[in-house]
């Protein structure tokens, strides 16, 4: 095992922060507001759905360079922040001058009540760090994770477009980013363990130095809750549905953050986040990238990992239908072994996984669609963007000329786990893609699913959606011919 450190070290703007003890379990937003009096960061929902708490987070990538992305600070916990550089809205004005983003927001009436504004300013500042120019759709894309109830957004879009002609100050050097990077590099390679007792309860937060140490520690403390991006964990914790006393942070483990491809398949390390996977898949499986385009919003995608999505085991997880339809498999790692499990047999019931306590998901192997095949993915949600699915579906057909040679159809949101619609698949074989065939397929599908009514839609609506998506698919194909 590598050497041990008992404190978390990170930077906020230009200030070095060292945390040992119970503050390690605070959401970053609370730490900023109530420990550092940096109240510019606002909190509305505590669940990643409004962006009011957006900050820019710098973390060391595999080359030990700081890489800055924006995240929601309400679902980032202090124990995740070791060796990070957090930039808050206060960090924009350390020299007492307004940033051009701020000036533009003022000039174009981009704020009304002002409560969403710091989050929007941070998202736009992040945009200016990445791009010199941007058009309106890119601005909308960037701000998908930021809700504003006052402005109707139009003034904010105007304020953003006006930034195209502005020269930007070098924010990162004004915050001594290079120096911070150096200091953080020196602290890398340690295992970090924070232990303390709060109200008579022992709590532990672990950040392993590397994968091997992670697996050793997981074997030693099998009960410890893994935390990657914390976009599920954080919501569950903030809403009182999870009360973990022992956590192990893994999103920084570069050994399982890989993205690989060859002619037959793609491989994603479990800690690869959705922003990276989205870009990576754009040429090989653009359909998947399109689903990821409407997966949460950038703040979430920058943190959320594929491993977390799979392990969380929600039947409406957006990545699952395609993984099911293309027969992906999972690499499960433990200190002593490695095994490969097809995703189609990984879920044994609602949130019941074929995963041992000493194991972690290491990666995903996704076979690419074969040459003569059709892949279509659907996500239906109440709001197109930043919403959890009502129903999802993947249709994958391998073709022999006009004929369907084999079919794989996976549907989410219509049962306790993602379902393969076997009777539909069987029915489709040797048939062609035409509306009459898919009308019958739709009828069969309805018999195979067991949706429930909930806040995202009634049972009847979900049933109808599954049927209609099959029919829509065939009509779309017809329109293409």
């Amino acid at each position: 095992m590598n050497n041990l450190r008992n404190e978390i070290v990170f930077f906020i703007n230009k200030e070095k922060v060292v945390v040992a003890g119970e503050d390690a379990f605070l959401p970053l937003s609370s730490f900023l507001r109530y420990r550092k009096n940096l109240t510019g960061t606002k909190v509305v929902c505590s669940e990643g759905d409004c962006g009011a708490c957006t900050v820019i987070l710098g973390w060391l990538d595999e080359n030990r360079k700081i890489h800055y992305t924006m995240v929601d600070s309400c679902i980032q916990f202090v124990f995740q922040l070791d060796l990070c550089h957090v930039i808050t809205v206060e960090g924009l004005n350390l020299n007492n001058e307004l940033h051009p983003v701020q000036n533009s927001m003022i000039r174009h009436f981009g704020s009304q009540c002002g409560f969403c504004t710091p989050g929007i300013v941070m998202a736009l500042t992040d945009l200016t760090l990445k791009q010199k120019s941007f058009n309106a759709p890119e601005i909308q894309e960037k701000l998908t994770g930021n809700l504003c109830r006052c402005t109707g957004y139009e003034p904010i879009v105007k304020a953003s477009l006006a930034l195209n002609d502005e020269s930007m100050p070098d924010l990162l050097s004004s915050l001594d980013s290079a120096e911070i990077e150096k200091q953080l590099q020196q602290l890398a390679d340690s295992n970090v363990i924070i232990e303390f007792t709060q109200n008579g309860e022992k709590k532990t937060a672990i950040k392993p130095a590397n994968l091997a140490d992670a697996l050793t520690l997981k074997a030693k403390y099998p009960q410890v809750r893994l935390v990657a991006g914390a976009t599920d964990f954080g919501v569950q914790t903030n809403k009182g549905r999870a009360k973990d006393k022992n956590v192990m942070f893994i999103a920084h483990l570069h050994e399982i953050g890989y993205l690989k491809k060859n002619a037959e398949q793609l491989e994603f390390g479990a800690t690869a986040n959705w922003s990276r996977i989205r870009d990576f898949c754009r040429s090989e499986i653009p359909q998947f990238s399109e689903i990821l385009d409407i997966f949460a919003a950038e703040q979430i995608r920058n943190a959320a990992t594929i491993g977390g999505n799979i392990a969380n085991g929600s039947p409406i997880a957006d990545s699952l239908p395609v993984l099911f339809a293309l027969n992906a498999s999972l690499k499960l790692l433990s200190e002593s072994s490695e095994r490969i499990v097809p995703i189609n047999s990984f879920y044994r019931g609602y949130k019941q996984l074929d995963l041992q306590q000493n194991e972690i998901i290491g990666g995903v192997i996704l076979p690419l669609p074969v040459k003569n095949s059709v892949l279509r993915l659907f996500k239906v949600s109440r709001r197109k963007d930043l919403d959890i699915s009502t129903v999802t579906m993947a249709i994958y057909l391998e073709m022999d000329g006009n004929k369907i040679q084999s079919a794989a159809i996976a549907a989410g949101g219509v049962g306790p786990v993602v379902l393969r619609l076997h009777s539909v698949e069987k029915f489709l074989v040797d048939r062609t893609i035409e509306p009459s065939v898919f009308e019958e397929a739709a009828r069969l599908a309805a018999e195979e699913i067991s949706p429930i009514s909930d806040v995202r839609g009634s049972k009847e609506y979900r049933t109808l959606l599954i049927q209609n998506l099959l029919q829509k698919f065939s009509l779309e194909r017809e329109a293409l011919v």
């Binding site: 002002g114 701000l143 109830r149 709001r383 829509k472």
Partner: protein, 773 residues
């Protein structure tokens, strides 16, 4: 230079963008400050059998737990009818209705105390729908009515009769800053309360009366709110009471704020409505008779429901002359948190009801709905509303014409019809809907405002009024108004936090009337000071040799200077005048007052002139619908608004874009879902979907319509906050228009909001969701 009409940034914009503008939770923690939470009813309707606090009180960190027994004043309040208890003691009326207030040294102590309180409660059968309330005849207040003409004769003369029911859903205000208040004990019994409220006077009054204090012992201050939209007109009071009670009992500062989930679960929303209608119309689409019976879901107390309901009846005509009409309204009692104000305040439900019907007429007659709308508009010889007010300066016909041209409505309608004939996957729809919104509180006495203007000896000015700032730009406009009164730069004017100490007995900042009431009051104060200053300046500027004697009427304030019109070269600066006036012992402060003239309404007869004027506008919205999923996309929006002279076009433009988008959310996507226990399931942004930035089309044009005939009100301006919200209904009508292309002339009967599910189920009913190819 005058600031009237200038794009002057929001007065707090710099604070907003830097995060330095303070909201209540940003105020530094005070020494010995306590956290405050509460235990609420575990059932929607129940009988409290016993409460045992013994165990809970022993939990470390718990400082106090208080029940109704600890209330020193009256455990009862309500803005219209006094029917709301602060802490329930016999029966509970909604899920999470407060029973015990808990003060803790830290938040965890409160959570533990909640779990340790032993509450025995017997569950009673709740009323959880309008239908159930109607069935049980459980209503709040009496039935109200507005009518004129003879509907039976109208029906008899009609070619077609349409009868049915229509539902408009509730809507969460979704202000970003949840309800919060901070109470700090002062000397003796006095309390200082920082509250995120549209109505500091109401907070002062209710806190005083419930705690057994005089109004004069409570000061309430509101610097700004992180959004309100009506949700903080009355309902800021619960957190204020809890914080105040703890402060009173412990003599320690106490802060109480809801998290988002709690806020959404326990505070009131826009009223859901169900209405039953019967309409008669001619073959060419003229409405000859209309009867609508509205049932609003009031929740468990009256709150503002009676006023909301009467505004619905007053807006059922929207922009249309309805010769024979009878509208009635009843507030249903249900076991939900009391519903309350939300931008539009009953107006949207009335406008939606009539616009839904107009769209139905068009669909059923196979005509363009614009033609039906135009046929029914107010016009010469048809300018009296059902409640008897004459529609003056009726510019809507012209405004609509201009919008039709600018939006290229007719060409787009033709294209859409063509598109729908050939598209198998999607449908398009378009609609133009107008709004004519009455400005003033319909409760006469609320139409008053006062403002305090103080000039300091360096020539800078502070102004404060009873009006609160929730983002709408009131402070910015007040600043402009006052600066222009003295012809000084806006930078020399500061608008101070709204405080009951400075402005007493203020009305809520609501009904879009914030600038009208408080701006006029500020002008009144400034005029009085200016008169004194002018009189004094006249003596300074007079020139006996030049034959110019002191004449106050000749004194001009311009460009931060003061001069006599007859001797324009002899100027003194405003600052110099002020210091000289001070030394001459001339008062440099004044309180101004304003009461809106000429308005009144008789609730018993349903007749009167409740509104000072109307704000008008119209919008064209185009939508795209996925035939297979019902998913809706807004394609284009064009808006034209008559808001008189815009004091600040930047602010007003933002009020319009923001209002329209809120209306779009209500009309298309914001759905409140409850379970059978009365628990709100869509209680956070994860499940309650307000419009996001990508939901708003990039084609979103907003223009002002010039209305030089509007000569009344402060700087000839018009209120702007609420009216645009109702333009969101254009999207709902556009959905109906789209559906009609496949549903045919049998109508497109959907309820509002037109969610994907609502749309798909409507398509499904006729079997057209399944595409027969």
């Amino acid at each position: 230079m005058a600031s009237n009409g200038v794009y002057i940034p929001h007065e707090s914009a710099k604070g907003h963008v830097t995060g330095q503008a303070h909201y209540i939770d940003d105020l530094p923690r005070l020494h010995a400050e306590l956290y405050v939470g509460y235990l609420g009813s575990p059932v929607a309707h129940g009988k409290i059998l016993s409460i045992n606090l013994d165990k809970a009180k022993k939990i470390p960190g718990v400082v106090g737990i208080y029940t109704h027994k600890d209330i020193q004043g009256e455990n009862l309040f309500g803005p219209i009818i006094k029917d709301e208890k602060f802490l329930a003691y016999d029966v509970t009326h909604f899920l999470s209705e407060p029973i015990c207030v808990i003060a803790g040294e830290y938040p965890e102590a409160i959570e533990k105390a909640k779990a340790a309180i032993e509450l025995e409660i017997e569950e009673l059968e709740p009323i959880l729908s309008i239908d159930k309330a109607i069935e049980k005849q459980k209503f709040i207040g009496k039935k109200i009515k507005i009518e004129r003409g003879d509907t039976s004769a109208g029906f008899a003369a009609s070619d077609h009769i349409l009868e049915g029911s229509f539902i408009t859903g509730g809507q969460e205000q979704f202000y970003l800053e949840s309800q919060i208040a901070f109470a700090i004990p002062q000397e003796e019994n006095d309390l200082l309360i920082y509250s995120s409220t549209q109505n500091p006077t109401e907070i002062q009054k209710v806190v005083a009366e419930v705690l057994g204090l005089g109004h004069h012992e409570v000061v309430c201050i509101c610097k700004r709110m992180g959004g309100a939209f009506g949700g903080k007109e009355t309902q800021g009071v619960h957190v204020a009471l809890m914080a105040a009670l703890v402060a009173q009992k412990t003599r320690r500062p106490a802060r109480c704020g809801y998290d988002k989930d709690t806020d959404m679960k326990v505070t009131g929303k826009r009223h859901p409505y169900k209405s039953f209608y019967k309409m008669g119309y001619s073959q060419d689409g003229e409405i000859l008779a209309l009867e609508i019976d509205y049932y609003s879901d009031g929740g468990c107390t009256a709150d503002l429901s009676p006023s909301v309901l009467s505004r619905t009846l007053m807006h059922t005509d929207n922009a249309y002359f309805l010769p024979n009409i009878r509208t009635t309204g009843q507030i249903c009692y249900t076991n939900f948190p009391s519903n309350t104000a939300f931008r539009g305040f009953g107006g949207p439900q009335g406008v939606a009801a009539i616009e839904n019907l107009i769209e139905e007429i068009a669909i059923r007659l196979g005509k363009d709905s614009l033609e039906i709308r135009k046929k029914n508009l107010y016009g010469p010889g048809r300018e009296t509303t059902p409640y008897g007010q004459i529609v003056r300066n009726n510019i809507l016909p012209n405004l609509i014409e201009r919008l039709v041209t600018e939006s290229d409505y007719h060409a787009r309608l033709a294209e859409i019809q063509e598109y729908n004939r050939s598209s198998k996957l999607n449908l398009k729809g378009i609609a133009l809907t107008p709004v004519k919104f009455g400005i003033s509180f319909t409760t006469k006495f609320l139409n008053q405002g006062n403002a305090l203007v103080n000039i300091y000896t360096d020539g800078t000015v502070q102004v404060s009024s009873g009006g609160t700032e929730m983002g709408q730009g009131l402070y910015t406009k007040l600043r402009q108004i006052v600066a222009d009164q003295f012809a000084i730069p806006v930078e020399d004017v500061k608008v101070m936090a709204t405080s009951t100490e400075k402005n007493n007995n203020a009305s809520p900042t609501a009904a879009s009337a914030g600038t009208d009431l408080n701006g006029n009051a500020a002008v009144n104060a400034c005029e009085k000071i200016r008169e004194r200053l002018a009189g004094f300046a006249a003596t300074l500027l007079a020139d006996q040799a030049a034959g110019i004697s002191p004449e106050a009427a000749e004194v001009c304030f311009d460009d931060a200077q003061v001069f006599d019109r007859r001797l324009p070269d002899k100027k003194i600066s405003f600052k110099e005048l002020v210091i000289k006036a001070y030394k001459e012992r001339i008062s440099l402060g004044e309180r101004g007052f304003y009461a809106t003239p000429g308005i009144d309404f008789n609730n018993d007869t349903g007749k009167g002139n409740p509104f000072y004027y109307f704000t008008n506008g119209a919008a064209v919205t185009e939508v795209l619908i996925d035939r297979f999923t019902g998913e809706l996309k807004l394609e284009k929006i064009d808006v034209l608004m008559d808001i008189g002279n815009s004091i600040n076009p930047g602010i007003d433009h933002g009020q319009i874009t923001g209002g329209v988008v809120q209306g779009l959310g209500w009309a298309t996507n914001e759905a409140l879902t409850y379970n059978e226990k009365g628990e709100l399931l869509s209680h956070s942004p994860t499940t309650y979907k307000i419009p996001g930035i990508k939901d708003i089309p990039l084609h979103f044009n907003v223009n002002f319509f010039d209305n030089p005939e509007h000569q009344i009100n402060v700087l000839r301006s018009k209120a702007v906050a609420e009216p645009p919200l109702m333009l969101g209904i254009s999207a709902f009508c556009a959905v109906k228009n789209a559906l009609s292309s496949v549903l045919g002339t049998s109508g497109a009967n959907i309820n509002l909001p037109a969610t994907g599910e609502e749309i798909l189920m409507a398509l499904q009913k006729t079997g057209v969701a399944k595409m027969q190819s």
